[in-house]
C-alpha cells in the first residue's frame, strides 16, 4: 500500500514539475523567438549597431534599390517622413540617408522608432552603423529635425533580392513605458 502511495506521490510531483516547467517554457519562447528571428530574418527585425570595417569588394556592378518608409503610431503628434524615398546602393558601400521629423505639439514629446525590413531575409544583410532608432528621440514643442541613418548592405545579400524596404514606425514613449523600451 505505502509503496503504491509513494509511486503516486512521485508521479504527481513529476507531473506538477512538468506543468510548472511548461509555464516557464512559454516565457522561454520569447527569447527563443528573438534568436530565431535573428537567424532567419523572420519579421524583418534588424539587429543593433555594427561597426563598418571598410568597403567590401562589390560583387560585379550590382545595384540594389532600397526604399525608405515612415509611419507614425496613433497618438503621436509628429510629422515623420524620409527625405529621399529610395536610393540605389552598391552592396559593401556605406550610405547615409535622412529622415525628417517635426513635433506638431506645443509640449515636448519623446518618440522611439521601430525598424522593419522587407523581405525579412534582407534584414540579415542590412547593417546600420548609426541610426536614430538606437535611442529615443525627444523634440521640444514645434521642434523639427533631420535624423540620419548610416548603413551598408553586405555583399552576401542573396542574388534574387534587388529591392528592399526599410520601414520605421515612430511610437510615442510614455514616461511609464520608458524603462521597458528595448532599443533596437
Amino acid at each position: 500500500m505505502s509503496k503504491a502511495h509513494n509511486s503516486q506521490r512521485k508521479h504527481t510531483a513529476l507531473l506538477l514539475m512538468l506543468a510548472v516547467g511548461m509555464f516557464g517554457f512559454a516565457f522561454a519562447l520569447v527569447p527563443l523567438y528573438a534568436v530565431f528571428c535573428e537567424l532567419t530574418g523572420l519579421n524583418g527585425k534588424t539587429s543593433g549597431q555594427v561597426a563598418y570595417t571598410g568597403p567590401q569588394t562589390p560583387v560585379d556592378d550590382r545595384v540594389v534599390t532600397i526604399q525608405f518608409l515612415a509611419q507614425v503610431g496613433t497618438g503621436m503628434p509628429w510629422e515623420f517622413r524620409p527625405m529621399e524615398h529610395q536610393l540605389l546602393v552598391r552592396p559593401g558601400t556605406l550610405y547615409t540617408t535622412q529622415f525628417y521629423v517635426r513635433n506638431r505639439a506645443s509640449q515636448p514629446v519623446t518618440g522611439q522608432a521601430i525598424p522593419s525590413v522587407s523581405p525579412g531575409l534582407a534584414a540579415l544583410h542590412l547593417h546600420k552603423t548609426e541610426c536614430f532608432c538606437f535611442t529615443q528621440q525627444q523634440l521640444a514643442g514645434g521642434e523639427e529635425m533631420e535624423m540620419p541613418v548610416t548603413f551598408f548592405i553586405d555583399t552576401d545579400l542573396p542574388e534574387d533580392i534587388n529591392v528592399l524596404s526599410l520601414s520605421y514606425t515612430l511610437y510615442r514613449v510614455n514616461p511609464v513605458q520608458t524603462a521597458q523600451v528595448v532599443s533596437n
Binding site: Q71, H85, S165
Partner: protein, 377 residues
C-alpha cells in the same frame, strides 16, 4: 471605362449562367480562378486537393456504406473474428504517404513562385487602420485613403442594398496591367489582412512590421475583396477594391493624381485664408462627422459605452479648443480614436470640430477656422 468592362463581365456571366448551368455551378460553388497566373495555379491546387479528397472519400465511405449494408446483423449474423493485420496497416500507411508526396510537389512549386518577390516594377505600401486602407505609391510618392462607400442606411436596412453592397469604396487602389506590383502591408493599430481573392493575395498587416506580397494582372477590371483578420467593431466594413487599368493609361492617371493634389492644395490655401461663418461650417462638419465619426460616436453624439464615449456634453467637446483639436488631429493612443490630421483637410477638421462643439446640446458657440487647424499641423 472600367464600369463598362465591369458590366460586360457581369453580362457575360449572366449569359453563361443561362446557357451552361454547370458553369453557374462553378462560378458560385468553387474557389474563383482569378485573373493572375498564380491565382489560376492556386485554383488548380485547390482542385487537386479537392479531387484527391473526393476519390479517397468515395473509397472510404463506399467501404463504410457497403459494410453497413452487407454486414448488418440481419444479413450477417455471425461476425468474423479477425482483428489485426500488419500488411493491411502497412498498406494504408504507405499509400497515403505517396499520395501526400504527389500533392506536395505542385504546392511547393507554386509556393516558391508566390514567395519570389524579386524584380518588381513598382511598390505599393498598404497601411491598414481601423477600418480603412491607405495606399501609398512609393515611387510616385502619392497616397490616399480608401474608405467603405456603402451608406449606413443600406447596412441598417433603411434603403435597398446595392449590387456591390459592402464591397465598394470611395477611392479604389489603381494598378496598371502587366506590371509586377509589390505590395508592402503594415498597420497603424491592430492586425488586419489585405485580401483580393482574384489575385490570390492575402497578407496580414501587422503594426510595426512590414510584409510583402506581389501580383501581376494581365486584364483590366475591378476586383473586390475584404479585410480578413478580425480587427474590431467594423471588421466587416473594410472592403478592398482594386481597379486595374491598361498600363499605357497608368502614367496619365498618376499625372492626374498629381494635378488633383495640386488643385486640392490650392483649394486648401483659399479655404484657410477665408474667414468662415458657423452656418457655413456646420453642414460640412455634419457630413464629415457622419462619414468618419458616426460609426463609433453615433449620429446622435451619444457614443456606445465606455469604449466609444459620448461627445454630447463631454469634457473634450465642451472644454479647451486646443485639446479638442489635438485629440481630433492626433488621436488617442491605444484606442480606436485615430489621428485625423493626415486623413482630413483643414476645412474638414475645422468644420467637424465646430459641428461637435455646437450640436447635441453642446453650445460653446465656438467657431474653429481652417487657419487654426493649419497652424497646428
Amino acid at each position: 471605362m472600367t464600369s463598362l468592362a465591369d458590366r460586360l463581365r457581369t453580362g457575360l456571366q449572366v449569359v453563361l449562367l443561362c446557357v451552361f448551368s454547370s458553369d453557374s455551378f462553378a462560378i458560385e460553388y468553387d474557389m474563383r480562378a482569378g485573373v493572375t497566373d498564380l491565382s489560376q495555379r492556386v485554383q488548380g491546387i485547390h482542385h487537386m486537393g479537392f479531387y484527391v479528397c473526393v476519390v479517397v472519400g468515395i473509397i472510404v465511405f463506399g467501404a463504410m456504406f457497403y459494410t453497413m449494408f452487407a454486414h448488418r446483423r440481419s444479413r450477417h449474423p455471425q461476425p468474423a473474428q479477425f482483428h489485426e493485420s500488419l500488411t493491411v496497416e502497412m498498406i494504408w500507411t504507405v499509400i497515403p504517404i505517396l499520395i501526400l508526396i504527389v500533392m506536395a510537389i505542385p504546392a511547393t512549386l507554386a509556393l516558391m513562385e508566390i514567395e519570389d518577390n524579386s524584380n518588381s516594377d513598382m511598390t505599393v505600401l498598404i497601411t491598414a487602420s481601423q477600418w480603412k486602407w491607405h495606399y501609398q505609391y512609393v515611387e510616385a510618392d502619392i497616397g490616399y485613403y480608401s474608405n467603405i462607400a456603402t451608406p449606413q442606411d443600406q447596412i441598417y436596412n433603411l434603403e435597398p442594398k446595392g449590387v456591390n453592397y459592402l464591397l465598394e469604396v470611395d477611392r479604389p487602389l489603381v494598378l496598371p496591367t502587366n506590371k509586377k506590383i509589390r505590395f508592402l502591408t503594415t498597420s497603424k493599430d491592430v492586425i488586419h489582412s489585405w485580401w483580393v481573392p482574384d489575385f490570390a493575395v492575402k497578407q496580414d498587416a501587422i503594426p510595426g512590421f512590414i510584409n510583402e506580397a506581389w501580383t501581376r494582372v494581365d486584364e483590366p477590371g475591378v476586383f473586390r475583396g475584404q479585410c480578413t483578420e478580425l480587427c474590431g467593431k467594423d471588421h466587416a466594413f473594410m472592403p478592398v477594391v482594386v481597379e486595374v487599368i491598361p498600363e499605357e493609361e497608368f502614367d496619365a492617371w498618376i499625372a492626374d493624381q498629381r494635378l488633383a493634389m495640386a488643385l486640392a492644395s490650392e483649394t486648401a490655401v483659399a479655404d484657410r485664408n477665408k474667414e468662415w461663418a458657423m452656418s457655413e461650417l456646420l453642414p460640412i462638419g455634419q457630413n464629415t462627422f457622419i462619414s468618419h465619426c458616426a460609426t463609433c460616436h453615433q449620429t446622435d453624439g451619444m457614443g456606445q459605452g465606455v469604449k466609444y464615449p459620448a461627445l454630447a456634453g463631454s469634457d473634450i467637446t465642451t472644454g479647451n479648443i486646443e485639446d479638442h483639436l489635438n485629440r481630433v488631429m492626433n488621436g488617442k493612443e491605444k484606442t480606436e480614436m485615430q489621428a485625423w490630421a493626415p486623413q482630413l483637410t483643414d476645412l474638414e477638421i475645422a468644420a467637424v470640430i465646430t459641428y461637435e462643439r455646437n450640436s447635441w446640446g453642446n453650445d460653446t458657440g465656438d467657431v474653429v477656422q481652417p487657419m487654426t487647424v493649419y497652424s497646428a499641423r
